[in-house]
Symmetry: C2
Subunit: 128 residues, 2 copies
């Protein structure tokens, strides 16, 4: 028992904006997506078990990958004992031009702002 059905990848025409936004409204999933986008040949799931100094349980991680997959943001294919995950950003970019760059750019901006804020606070209070 416990079926282990094949992975679902929507066609690019079935990808929805609300699906993308929902998937990328979660910081963990954004970090995963950004990591995949940065790596040239994709990454396994377990590459993200430790993320941003935080332990992610692997069942949780599996759910996050599923969310990204079913939103159409990534493609996952088995490669031996592990999974090769890659972004589908080219496809999505051709359907919704500029959406993903804008999203990721805003997250990047937010990260910069937060680092600046942390630095300000750090110099004010000497040592957290």
């Amino acid at each position: 028992m416990a079926a282990m059905r094949p992975l679902v990848h929507p066609s690019v025409d079935d990808v929805t904006v609300e699906g993308i936004l929902h998937a990328l409204a979660d910081p963990v999933r954004v970090a995963i997506y950004a990591g995949l986008a940065a790596s040239e040949k994709g990454s396994s799931c377990s590459a993200f078990l430790q993320l941003d100094n935080r332990e992610i349980p692997k069942s949780t991680l599996s759910q996050h990958f599923r969310a990204l997959r079913e939103a159409g943001l990534i493609r996952s294919e088995r490669q031996g004992v592990e999974m090769r995950n890659t972004t589908r950003c080219a496809e999505i970019n051709s359907r919704f031009p500029g959406l993903l760059p804008a999203l990721m750019g805003a997250y990047q901006q937010q990260l910069i702002d937060r680092m600046k804020a942390a630095k300000r606070k750090g110099s004010k209070a000497k040592s957290g």
Copy 2:
């Protein structure tokens, strides 16, 4: 009893990308936001009780406005017996340049694609 506390509007510096995406991952809220963006002097809540040929219960509508407000996307102020809701898109645009246009543009694209698909289907099956 039943407190009716004052409306919460985050400062623009406290607006988060994940908050915006979560708020705009809901088609009803997107329709509201788009409606507000289109109207010159803002709209009341009840202007959206009927939306896209669908009845929205007013308690539900109230929650949607709250979600948009607390994500920092709109500002609501009482004006007599009703509420004046306006977008905060200028503020957000200066913090996350291009994010909102990209989002709304993608939704617009999706709408166009759906209309095209419906037309195709309509001419194939004569009268769906």
